[in-house]
């Protein structure tokens, strides 16, 4: 039968409740590689993907703070010093990315649309478990590219769960898609060993545990941690004192997401870090 020039066919059943599946059926998303082949031999150094590094998140008295430095690199080259690695997915969810931005931004876009698509088609909000799992699936589907040496993404996901007990929740992932719920803090990216060290120290022997920090205290620890990471890791931007580039900091709470204004971060930096 001749195909009519319309975008959906007569016997459409509306069965695709999974947005990535729908995108794949339309050729809008790369198919998941079923049998990933590892890169053969020595990695070719002719081309290096752009990568973004060092993100952290921890729970404090006002919810979850998620922060990222602003640097994106390709090998030894700084590609961009104002990269946005802390992405809002919906009114209560943030995904922060370390790894290849091209893949990560695409994932964030798929995720954002998936949640909305679910709400619109199913007439209810996707559960936090569903959201966490959706990101896990995207990472799993992307693993073929990771094995080939491109497209590694190691994200952090922070969200506010109204059910059953209203609380902020924090997850981090590995490149294969395993999800880990963090009780206190998480950090990924090349500068993360330093950040984890600082957060562990603060949480255990600091003046108070991370969960009891006020917003200002949380921000100043964040700035100190990223600055420390940048000290030894060239891929981490930290705080650029001359260019006045500050990390991006967002907070998830019951009320939704707030982005801290740069002026506030700058003031706290001057007062407690510099």
């Amino acid at each position: 039968m001749e195909r009519s020039p319309v975008a959906f066919d007569q016997n459409f059943s509306g069965a695709a409740s999974d947005f990535p599946t729908l995108l794949r059926s339309e050729g809008l998303l790369a198919p998941a590689l079923v049998n990933p082949v590892p890169q053969a031999g020595t990695p070719q150094k002719t081309w290096q993907p752009t990568e973004a590094t060092t993100i952290l998140a921890f729970k404090f008295s006002g919810g979850v703070l998620v922060a990222g430095d602003r640097r994106a690199t390709a090998g030894n080259t700084v590609v961009y010093d104002r990269a946005d690695k802390v992405l809002e997915i919906d009114r209560h969810s943030i995904m922060a990315i370390a790894g290849v931005p091209a893949t990560a931004w695409e994932m964030a876009r798929v995720l954002e649309h998936s949640f909305q698509f679910f709400r619109r088609t199913q007439l209810q909000e996707m559960s936090v478990d569903g959201k966490v799992r959706a990101l896990s699936k995207l990472l799993r589907d992307n693993f073929g590219f990771v094995m080939q040496g491109v497209g590694v993404v190691v994200p952090i996901f922070a969200t506010y769960d109204p059910h059953p007990k209203p609380e902020a929740r924090l997850y981090f992932y590995d490149a294969m898609g395993a999800q880990f719920e963090a009780t206190d803090y998480a950090a990924t990216g090349s500068g993360s060993p330093a950040v984890r060290g600082i957060l562990y120290y603060e949480n255990t022997w600091g003046r108070k545990p991370l969960q009891e920090l006020s917003e200002d205290e949380a921000v100043s620890i964040t700035l100190r941690a990223l600055d420390t990471a940048a000290e030894s890791d060239t891929s981490t931007g930290g705080v650029d004192r001359s260019g006045k580039i500050y990390p991006l900091i967002k907070i998830v709470s019951r009320e939704g997401i707030t982005t801290l204004p740069e002026s506030k971060i700058a003031a706290l930096f001057k007062e407690t870090v510099a």
Binding site: Q10, G14, L22, L28
Partner: protein, 259 residues
């Protein structure tokens, strides 16, 4: 049978008659563009009739629930894939309805060995200002009516949907005199309730040619509000948020109703 053209015409006419009869008891839906957005409103006790389609698009529908669901899913899928592959601002209601929905509805309706869609839908897309609001009503045969100015009518800042033509025309007549695009939310809510009442009253009678008396409308509206729940949703004009759709609860509306 359909090799003979007149048989085909006859079959189509029968089919039209059948569908019109099926749709006739459908509870009316009114959509009003006002100062801060677009208000969708209907009264009912059973199924949900107003839905979010995309960031700035909503839909109200009457008909068979299975058909409404298929069309709703199709509209959401089309808008979502478009919004994903390009951007949310590239999702256009005009294109969605004219290019995608209408041809499919027409084909289904005219292929007399297959089932038609038993549905009548009203879509709205909120604009930056009331005069950018777009309303499109799509019928089971793919026919489209807009709120835009034509040779026969001036631009309207509202659109309605009902089971019969008579009911729809009287609702429109009521809104033409009662509703203005700079109306407040409260005024729009009350105009919408009046329009719904007029539409619903007309469905109960055979030959209503003229608008009922004001007092009769008020009385009817009061009676209906006792037994029915209000189903309403907003498309907010405020551009600070991408997603403009918000459903309104019966409870938050009751206090704003003039008696």
């Amino acid at each position: 049978m359909i090799e003979e053209p007149y048989r085909w015409v006859e079959a189509i006419a029968n089919r039209r008659e059948y569908i019109e009869a099926q749709l006739a008891p459908g509870s009316p839906i009114a959509a009003l563009g006002y100062r801060d957005g677009i208000l969708f409103l209907t009264l009912g006790k059973t199924r949900q009739k107003i839905f979010e389609i995309y960031d700035r698009i909503a839909m109200g529908a009457i008909g068979h629930p299975g058909d409404i669901e298929r069309l709703r899913m199709a509209a959401i899928e089309l808008a979502s894939t478009e919004g994903f592959s390009r951007s949310a601002t590239d999702v256009s209601l005009r294109r969605l309805v004219h290019y995608s929905l209408s041809p499919v509805l027409k084909t289904a309706f005219e292929q007399i060995y297959g089932p038609p869609y038993l549905a009548r839908m009203l879509f709205a897309e909120v604009g930056e200002r009331p005069d950018n609001d777009l309303f499109l009503r799509v019928d089971y045969d793919g026919e489209i009516a807009t709120n835009g100015a034509t040779y026969a009518q001036a631009r309207q800042d509202f659109a309605v949907l009902s089971g019969t033509q008579q009911s729809r025309e009287l609702m429109e007549a009521s809104l033409k005199t009662q509703h203005a695009p700079d109306a407040s939310f409260e005024a729009a809510l009350n105009s919408a309730l009046d329009a719904w009442s007029i539409g619903h009253m007309t469905l109960q009678t055979k030959d209503a040619k003229e608008l009922p008396e004001r007092a009769a409308v008020t009385k009817y509206r009061k009676e209906q509000l006792v037994n029915s729940g209000i189903e309403a949703a907003l498309l907010e004009r405020d551009a600070s948020r991408a997603i403009r759709y918000r459903s309104l609860s019966d409870k938050e509306l009751r206090s704003l109703i003039n008696d």
